[in-house]
Symmetry: C4
Subunit: 230 residues, 4 copies
């Protein structure tokens, strides 16, 4: 588990989603009730499976000499709210962050988006001054949960937090990284699309269904059928 989470953190860098230490990946083992997360502010070159931090779901450090990511409370709030997710990623990847700063949801404009996100990628409301002043990172998690609302978190495996940056998740740490790459890619495509055609409308719902469902769910036929390709 430490190794998997370390590997996912390194993959985040390999996919060029992080500048310096601006990103973190965690994974959860729900049976054991433990979360593994990247330590705070440590350079990627200095990371190893050994210095990943092991926590319980209340955030108590069980193993590890380093402080966990400063965003740990956000991760924990998401694990508590969404029982199906097994890994979480936070980055400041530039294209998705631009949408966060713009305060706008990323519209579903084509099949690249539809292959992974079953609808637009929502943007949270801004946090209030009170939410910022006390338990900021926990409240960041709560506003994400509030925004996802009654939707299936596995069908919308990422979000952008207003004035901040994206979070994504998946069935494990590796899938969460995968979805972070997708989120950045579709964010960039959406920006370009709107530049070419500012009055474009969202993808035909029938096409959204087709592409999402050919990759996900019980009738999926993309890939070799051995694993869920989400």
């Amino acid at each position: 588990m430490r190794h998997q989470v370390w590997q996912a953190n390194m993959d985040l860098q390999r996919h060029q989603l992080v500048t310096f230490t601006w990103g973190n990946v965690s994974g959860i083992d729900r049976q054991q009730g433990i979360v593994v997360i990247k330590p705070s502010g440590v350079a990627y070159e200095a990371l190893s499976a050994d210095n990943m931090v092991v926590l319980d779901l209340e955030g108590n450090v069980l193993e590890g000499d380093l402080k966990p990511s400063s965003d740990t409370a956000t991760h924990l709030a998401l694990y508590q709210a969404f029982p199906d997710i097994g890994g979480i990623v936070h980055t400041h990847s530039p294209q998705a962050t631009a949408w966060a700063q713009a305060g706008k949801a990323i519209p579903a404009l084509g099949t690249t988006h539809a292959d992974y996100f079953y609808g637009h990628i929502p943007c949270t409301r801004a946090l209030t001054d009170e939410e910022i002043a006390t338990d900021y990172e926990h409240n960041t998690g709560l506003v994400i949960v509030e925004t996802i609302g009654s939707q299936d978190a596995m069908a919308i495996p990422g979000i952008i937090v207003k004035e901040h940056a994206p979070f994504s998740w998946g069935s494990d740490a590796d899938q969460a990284v995968h979805n972070a790459v997708v989120l950045e890619t579709v964010a960039a495509m959406a920006t370009q699309t709107l530049q070419i055609n500012p009055s474009v409308s969202a993808v035909n719902p029938a096409l959204l269904d087709k592409h999402y469902l050919r990759k996900h769910g019980k009738n999926a036929y993309y890939g070799q059928g051995k694993t869920d390709k989400k």
Copy 2:
């Protein structure tokens, strides 16, 4: 043939046109009546000439243990309609995909475009709900064929499918990859051009003729004359 198609798939990645497994290349041997295509959802690192899938023109698997690309039916429709093409590429390369999402043809704005595409790069109409619901991938091929219409497919060696992404083709798998790179490049240039000058008009037809014909056709004088440089 398997080796050539495998090599073309690897080149697609080398030219940075694919994210994860979002792309596929096929080639056809018209004398033997066989098509070779990438397997579905397999990571590029795991690809080899041996796991390319060999099909007949009706899509029956002749050799290979893996499922062929989920877009196989699109490739087959194009091979059936365009007798001169020997290779097909599908990607979600970002700049061309932005034009697809914008639902607009890529105008011929200069000689870079004219060197390879003898006119604008068309954008298909959107598929209907019925076309999406049944035989979606086959219908994607048909709407491409409908859009090319009576034009020479070898003179317009690529297209963008509305709300989806580009397809390109060529005399073999390698040339299809070449044209996929060109399509992405001219898509990016067109977006930038329109940002600088939103009221730009299409390239002078005389210049389009000059550049296309100095590279292609019987009086071509670009290159060393040993092969068609298309």
Copy 3:
């Protein structure tokens, strides 16, 4: 010190902030009263710790056979005005330079910016013809100092000089390079943000405070607490 400044110059290139020789890093040892800076117009491949130029604070060369950077007088003016800074970087990194050419301050639009800059990144006024004609590089330093005014230079560790390009600084040469990377990154994000939402307003001041102060100052809790992560 020569080694540290050489390393910082090489890091500037590694972070892809320089084209050819368009950048320079210096460091100061305030106790010894010496400044170390890159030589002028020397290719990065030819740089070594040995050919860094050692100067006093009046710009007299103490050690080194090469001429110091043509921007040396700008560096010296900043060291004289801002007693807390230990390193300075100048680049023509493209995204920040675009803001300099546009003549606009980079607004604080999100937490990526707020993690490092405690407010917008200012843009100087244009230099007058007289300031350009005589002691141009020194006057470039003075207009930076004039623009920072009574603000804490360590809380605004960079600026853009109108019609020219960015300067950044930090507690040492390495931190100055770090801030040059941040400046380029937030410049790119700001451009994209404004493209997506031209009417966006600056980040909530409470969020600016939160992010800046969780990384900097006496109650900072980002990182491992061993060093200031600025």
Copy 4:
């Protein structure tokens, strides 16, 4: 000389200014009256000093088994008109090509531009149908010469040809490549600048003078003084 021109062609690729074979560099030895140029349509991996083509100023091949670049006649027209230039580069580098397609001169917006180009980078008029039909490549050279007019070609070491792409030149093949990189870089910066501030005006002429003249001419003080840093 063959080696120098081969090296310059390889540098063009190293600086990422060429896709496939879309670029060429030549050099001239005015004393011997010979021009060395890249062969037409040969992949960069297959280039060597040995397969560079040696021509006289009328375009007759003196040495080499391969056909010279299809743009040879453009190079020869420039060598004949501008006696100070020693090397020429043609690329379809994307940012400069976007300006060519937009049909607009690249305005001088800051010091990055002013360090190399003593004024805006002109855009030629479009060629007439007659100029395209007969001696197209030669006429491309003539329209460049017409556009430069009475200006010093060494002070404006590059141009964009409308609907086509950039050409640049310099004191030798290496400097021509250097200026091709600068042209692409300032083209990209200008596009970004105008996106941020569409009403920006050209750089203060006093600053243009200062930066151009501190790098070029008899009172230049940038660099180590051993060579002209243009």
